[in-house]
């Protein structure tokens, strides 16, 4: 099978998976909750209008915390559900490599989250209404948010492969993601810097989703941030593959 064949298989898995998201009412519930939470935090907690700023920083700043709970909820069914239904045996005995199956499923979930993110476009319209915003940081904010969602998702996909219970997968993934967020959370890093050497604090915060997300919001596309997110995703999906290979039954 050539590249085309490989691509077609990923596409078939991707298509099935994406359709199954939009066929389920849970998907719409998820999108509505995502939008509501965004609105709530931006307008009621950050007092977006009172700030009188024509930028979206007070909107993006909440994304890590919203993703922390919502993305594991999207990811938890990815493999746990297949395991529970027995369809894992079906899909893994079709001529599909584990890599293709993982990619297809991951991309579908990512696109689904991307759709939810795109539906926040009224926020952009609002800032245009309020003033003359700088488009660069907004575009970067969206890109950063999308990449960060992918990193969250890859963690969730991995924990979903570990178990047949969606609840266990959800909790595991929230815990891991919480660590990855908190490692760069200013209150935590400031406690750390009280006693740890600077290089250590930098190292810890460099592993955090938050650090790279904040730096992208400044509106500059830093290759290191891109590299960071793609390494996290690649690493987690590789672990996902290893887990799937070694835990085929049960």
């Amino acid at each position: 099978m050539g590249k085309i064949g490989m691509f077609n298989t990923v596409r078939a898995v991707f298509k099935r998976e994406l359709l199954s998201y939009f066929n389920a009412p849970v998907a719409y519930v998820f999108i509505v909750i995502f939008l509501l939470l965004n609105g709530f935090f931006t307008f009621f907690i950050s007092h977006f209008f009172d700030l009188g700023q024509a930028d979206l920083r007070s909107f993006f700043q909440w994304h890590p915390w919203i993703y922390l709970f919502l993305v594991p909820a999207v990811a938890m069914r990815l493999w746990a559900e297949e395991r529970r239904l027995g369809t894992l045996e079906l899909i893994l005995t079709l001529p599909v490599t584990v890599t293709q199956a993982i990619l297809g499923k991951f991309l579908a979930a990512w696109v689904f989250i991307g759709v939810a993110l795109l539906l926040t476009f009224p926020m952009v319209l609002t800032v245009f209404y309020l003033g003359q915003p700088d488009l660069g940081p907004i575009a970067m904010g969206y890109l950063g948010s999308f990449l960060m969602a992918g990193a969250f998702l890859s963690v969730g996909a991995m924990t979903s492969a570990l178990t047949r219970s969606q609840v266990v997968s959800f909790i595991l993934s929230v815990v891991i993601c919480l660590f990855l967020v908190l490692a760069g959370f200013p209150p935590v890093t400031s406690v750390l810097s009280g006693w740890a050497p600077v290089w250590f604090v930098d190292l810890v915060s460099a592993t955090s989703f938050l650090t790279h997300f904040l730096s992208m919001q400044r509106g500059v596309l830093d290759l290191r941030d891109l590299l960071y997110y793609f390494s996290v995703i690649t690493f987690m999906l590789c672990v996902n593959g290893v887990v799937l290979q070694s835990r085929r039954t049960s």
Binding site: T87, L94, P95, V96
Partner: protein, 323 residues
């Protein structure tokens, strides 16, 4: 050809499959028999590449499972145990998805999917969501999935489980029809299925092959093989029994039961290749015991099964009288 080469699978300290080796050629239908937990499904999961073997390998049509798993899977159609199907899809979309994964172009899918739907009697439920299907229909959808690409090798784990008698019959017919160009392995707990479709049967017990032969030969090893069952219209069993026992070539005979004035006997020959029916008939009619029915036992697969898998009466005890 499917070649299982010393397949073993260990779960923790338990050997679920222990050094199983066999080959199945095209034209053959191999039946896997064995008690619950014997290792049938585990063997099939290894053959289809779902479970990596702890030891050994299998070669499917020249593709070694360890070297070319995808190549091997392309040639196989597999119906897993309990027929897993995505519950949120409808029948057509599901089969279309499998066809897409199997690499068929849109044009080919348009032809092949409806064809398969027709073949598996799914026309009525084409657009129905799988989760709302009855068990038997779900089983048929998964079966359809396994034959969609007209594979050279078919591996079916309990293919008729949950089907009604008509559908069981249809599926067996289909399997037999397909067998001319395919090598087929199926597992089942229905022994009559083995007799009616399989050209060969392997009995697995505790992860090991304990018998590998044609159903006829297996039946011939039954203690009842060649025995004569007969009914006599008479009141007292003693005299006819003595007369049967005294017939030439009869090793032993037992009285089984009495029903509506008919006495049921079974006589066992001294040697399997010496017919004794004529001798018994001659003797009984000479003494005016009216014979109302008589037939030669072919042996029963379930008896052989029980004897081989070691959960039955000792081989020399009289046959149970409840038949």
């Amino acid at each position: 050809m499917i070649e299982a080469k010393h397949l073993s699978k260990q779960f923790g300290s338990k050997m679920a499959v222990d050094d199983i080796a066999f080959t199945v050629a095209k034209g053959e239908i191999l039946g896997f028999l064995g008690p619950n937990g014997a290792g049938k499904s585990t063997t099939m999961r290894m053959l289809t590449g779902y479970l990596p073997p702890s030891q050994g390998t299998a070669v499917i049509g020249g593709c070694d499972l360890l070297d070319d798993p995808i190549g091997a899977r392309r040639k196989i159609g597999y119906l897993p145990e309990n027929a897993p199907v995505y519950p949120d899809m409808n029948v057509f979309d599901f089969l279309n998805f499998v066809a897409e994964i199997r690499g068929f172009t849109a044009a080919e899918r348009k032809r092949r999917v409806p064809q398969t739907i027709e073949k598996c009697f799914l026309s009525k439920v084409t657009r129905q969501t799988v989760s709302t299907l009855s068990k038997g229909f779900k089983q048929r959808v998964c079966f359809a999935q396994s034959i969609l690409h007209d594979p050279e090798y078919l591996i079916l784990d309990e293919p008729t489980d949950g089907l009604d008698p008509n559908q069981k019959h249809e599926v067996r017919l289909m399997i037999r029809e397909m067998s001319t160009q395919k090598a087929i392995i199926l597992s089942t707990h229905i022994l009559e299925e083995v007799e009616s479709v399989c050209t060969r049967a392997i009995i697995i017990d505790d992860g090991r092959i304990v018998a590998d032969d044609s159903p006829e030969n297996l039946k011939a090893s039954s203690p009842d093989h060649g025995a004569i069952s007969l009914t006599v219209k008479y009141e007292d069993p003693g005299a006819p029994l003595a007369s049967i026992q005294a017939s030439e070539g009869v090793k032993s005979a037992v009285f089984l039961k009495s029903e509506n004035g008919h006495l049921f006997f079974r006589a066992f020959p001294e040697r399997g290749d010496r017919p004794i029916a004529d001798k018994i008939v001659a003797r009984l009619s000479q003494q005016h015991y009216p014979i109302t029915s008589l037939f030669v036992e072919k042996g029963r697969l379930d008896e052989v099964f029980r004897r081989i898998t070691g959960h039955c009466r000792p081989p020399n005890a009289p046959p149970d009288a409840t038949r």
